[in-house]
């Protein structure tokens, strides 16, 4: 497939846009010390102004919060937390969900039935509630937030991978592999996994979009980092207290960051799905 044609393919524009957004935020996270104009908890306005949020100005394009912290800088620094949590949780969820899904789907049997029942039960439960429950056990930290998200998204990967494996198993391909005399582990690793990989990529995009929102929810309830550390959801939580006093910038910008980053992943996932012609993802 010609590289230059990626934009012309169905979903190509979406994938490109999504990837750009994701890369933008990842770059922001990596380069935060260079890019952020101020430290996340640096009182960047004169002390007499530090009691009230200051509106956007040339020095502070996104304004400052009530403690005199620069909102733009906090969004830049906050991206580190979000990127870490989402990346870590995606890796963890895949590491658990994908192999389980592969094996469970491939071999079937009573283990598969029990595993599916457990995963389905968890999957059917509102993810944000589950994440909150787990996160409040573990206490606020990036690692703990990632684990909480993992609990929510392992079933997602598991179910998708398993469903895809079952789909593959029903195809003539599998009969051809069995009759070719290939051993099971080889079939799983060399044939099923590569064929499931696009699905995993799609699920990665869609689940990560959702994970960002769940992370924001956890953060909103103070379950990811401890203030004054910067994190979008937490900043939005405190920022909203000033909305009615007119300090809209404390609400608008963190919210935009959350939504746009999540949208990046959504575009990636959906774009990939369309590219592969498989649009039916729940």
């Amino acid at each position: 497939m010609a590289k230059q044609a990626i934009l012309a393919r169905p979903g190509g524009l979406m994938v490109t846009a999504g990837l750009s957004i994701i890369l933008f935020y990842v770059a922001l996270a990596v380069l935060a010390p260079i890019l952020a104009p101020y430290g996340p908890t640096e009182v960047s306005v004169p002390k007499e102004l530090a009691g009230r949020p200051q509106p956007p100005s040339p020095e502070h394009p996104f304004g400052t919060n009530e403690l005199g912290y620069d909102v733009l800088s906090r969004i830049v620094w906050g991206s580190r937390v979000v990127v870490q949590v989402v990346a870590l949780s995606a890796v963890l969820s895949m590491a658990v969900g994908v192999p389980l899904g592969l094996v469970s789907g491939y071999y079937g049997g009573p283990v598969d039935r029990v595993l599916s029942l457990v995963m389905d039960s968890v999957y059917a439960f509102p993810g944000i509630l589950l994440a909150i429950a787990v996160a409040s056990v573990l206490g606020p930290s990036v690692g703990n937030a990632a684990i909480s998200l993992m609990v929510v998204y392992v079933p997602t990967y598991f179910r998708m991978v398993r469903a895809r494996v079952l789909e593959l198993k029903a195809r003539p391909l599998m009969e051809s592999l069995w009759t070719a005399g290939l051993p099971d582990h080889w079939i799983i690793l060399k044939h099923i996994l590569p064929n499931v990989a696009p699905t995993i990529l799609v699920v990665f995009g869609l689940a990560s979009a959702d994970a960002i929102l769940t992370e924001a929810g956890l953060s909103f309830f103070g379950l990811v980092v401890v203030y004054p550390e910067a994190d979008w959801g937490l900043d939005l939580y405190y920022g909203k207290n000033w909305l009615l006093s007119g300090a809209w910038w404390l609400t608008l910008f963190p919210g935009l960051a959350i939504t746009s980053f999540a949208a990046g992943f959504a575009l990636l996932g959906e774009g990939l799905a369309r590219m592969m012609g498989e649009e039916r993802w729940s």
């Binding site: 009691g51 009230r52 103070g222 203030y227 004054p228 207290n241």
Partner: protein, 524 residues
């Protein structure tokens, strides 16, 4: 199929139509609402909630406020002078050196359905509290040996030991008589029979609202309004928005400081009253590094309370230099005397250096806070304290947080080096601001580990003493030791704010910090 489709369309159309109708209603509600009101109704908004409408089990500030408006106790506080005055009781007498208390009741007290309220009701209610053994029952069981009705209008309490401030204890909610309908030995969390106070509960929708109407048989002054509705909001923003949208007349507990100031700037009438709510840091004295007195003193010295009040609370709290809040009679600002008013960085640095800390060997401390229990400003409070301590150049602060349910357990297990906490008094006496914190047998819940036999003795002495002058003297000594030993660093004292909608002309707050609903007057 076609029919089904049309049915669906019809439903959709109906929904749209109803929404348009609703819109229209709201458009004209302004005009319509005014003529309808004859007995003015007051709508109060709070972010609190009413938990259990049973004085035997409820033990939170706001439920007590509501109960205090629907019930009457033996004694109460005069809103103007702050003195304890009779309410159901017309007189009382302390006998046997404060071990036996006898109250004489007024004969005209009646419950909201006209049932007279007698000494037997008082006795039964208090015994009920003791039997049920709910959360606040210790307020009775700690003090009262026995209670009995001598006749229909005389109640006698026999205490376990003489208590100088027993009247302040009797003023608390568990001592308020309840309607005979309340079952004797089981709690009635949803009961609305109430007591014999100025209001009766006409409707209670948990988590949504409670409606109070005047008790027609109330012996005291008639309320200045026809009905009180209290609506519960999830957040202070919602509360504020409701006020601005005109959904409520009075915005009561708890608006964010920022919103109070902002509403004031926008011309809302904001009523301010001194408050008895205090904020302080619990210091763990039995583990390094805060086991060294110099370290604790340095931490206390480096605090700039005014900055905290201004930057975090927009001036809605005041600096506090003792655990006993100013305004209460035994208040003595011991920390101001010892460490000065602002941040005493020099002293802090000197103290820290004296125990071997320097720029290369900084004092490392952990400060814990709980993010929501004390409102949304808590994280900012911690952040600014961190700034202040780190301004010494010799301290490195790590902030940690856990949510309330976990926080209190960790606290009581002494897991926190430094932790932010707050305190509402159970009864209005300096004892309630000192004993629970400093008496070594009573302060285990704070996890401080503070034990000082001298303090224990002083507090015991003050408890049984009935002379206020002598007690004040004893409490002053305790507060001086507090500033020296620093098991707690008092930070701030709350002020109370009621933001009034345009129609509200008067509102009063009782010395116990309760809003007196009957005092709220609205125009039109």
């Amino acid at each position: 199929m076609a029919q089904k489709f049309n049915a669906r369309l019809a439903i959709a159309a109906a929904v749209v139509l109803i929404i348009i109708l609703a819109a229209g209603f709201y458009l004209f509600a302004g005009q319509g609402g005014e003529q309808a009101a004859q007995a003015p109704t007051v709508v109060i908004g709070v972010t609190d909630s009413v938990t259990e409408l049973d004085p035997a089990t409820s033990y939170d500030f706001f439920t007590w406020e509501v109960l205090s408006n629907v019930m009457a106790g033996l004694v109460t506080y005069d809103p103007d002078t702050g003195e304890i005055v009779g309410d159901l009781a017309t007189g009382w007498e302390a006998r046997e050196g404060g071990k036996v208390w006898v109250f004489t009741l007024r004969p005209d007290a009646k419950f909201a359905d006209g049932t007279p309220c007698t000494a037997q009701d008082v006795v039964r209610s208090i015994k009920r509290v003791m039997t049920i053994g709910g959360d606040p029952s210790w307020l009775v069981t700690e003090f009262v040996e026995d209670v009995r009705a001598i006749d229909d209008y005389t109640v006698e309490f026999r205490l376990k030991q003489p208590v100088g401030y027993f009247l302040a204890v009797v003023a608390t909610i568990p001592y308020h008589p309840v309607h005979p309908n309340y079952p004797d030995n089981e709690p009635a969390p949803d009961a609305t029979w109430g007591g014999c106070g100025p209001y009766k509960i006409s409707e209670f929708k948990r988590g949504e609202y409670i409606v109070l109407e005047p008790n027609p048989y109330y012996y005291g002054e008639k309320p200045k309004n026809g009905k009180v509705i209290i609506k519960f909001y999830e957040s202070s923003q919602a509360l504020r928005a409701a006020l601005e949208a005109g959904d409520i007349d009075v915005a009561w507990r708890t608006l964010n400081p920022a919103d109070i100031r902002d509403l004031q700037d926008r011309g809302y009438n904001v009523k301010e009253a001194p408050g008895l709510f205090i904020r302080y840091i619990v210091v763990k004295v039995d583990a390094p590094p805060t086991d060294r007195k110099e370290v604790r003193q340095a931490l206390a010295a480096a605090i700039d309370r005014q900055e905290l009040a201004d930057r975090v609370f927009q001036g809605t709290m005041e600096p506090l230099y003792s655990m006993v809040p100013s305004g209460l009679w035994a208040h003595y600002p011991a920390f101001k005397d010892k460490y000065g008013e602002g941040a005493n960085i020099d002293l802090a640095v000197q103290l820290l250096r004296s125990v071997g800390y320097d720029e290369n060997n900084k004092l490392k401390v952990e400060l814990w806070y709980t993010p929501t229990h004390y409102g949304d400003t808590e994280a900012q409070l911690a952040a600014v304290i961190k700034e202040q301590w780190e301004a010494t150049g010799l301290i490195e602060v790590t902030l940690k947080s856990s949510e309330w349910g976990q926080y209190v357990e960790q606290l009581s297990q002494g897991q926190f080096m430094l932790s932010l906490l707050g305190w509402y008094p159970d009864y209005l006496d300096p004892d309630n601001f000192l004993t629970p914190f400093l008496l070594s047998t009573a302060n285990t819940w704070t996890g401080t580990g503070y034990v000082n036999p001298q303090v224990d003795e002083l507090l015991q002495q003050a408890m049984t003493e009935t002379d206020q002058e002598t007690r004040a003297q004893l409490y002053k000594q305790v507060q001086e030791i507090l500033a020296e030993d620093v098991p707690y660093i008092p930070l701030l004292q709350g002020k109370l704010y009621v933001v009034l909608g345009p129609n509200v002309v008067n509102v009063e707050i009782s010395p116990l910090q309760f809003l007196i609903y009957s005092s709220i007057e609205v125009t039109g």
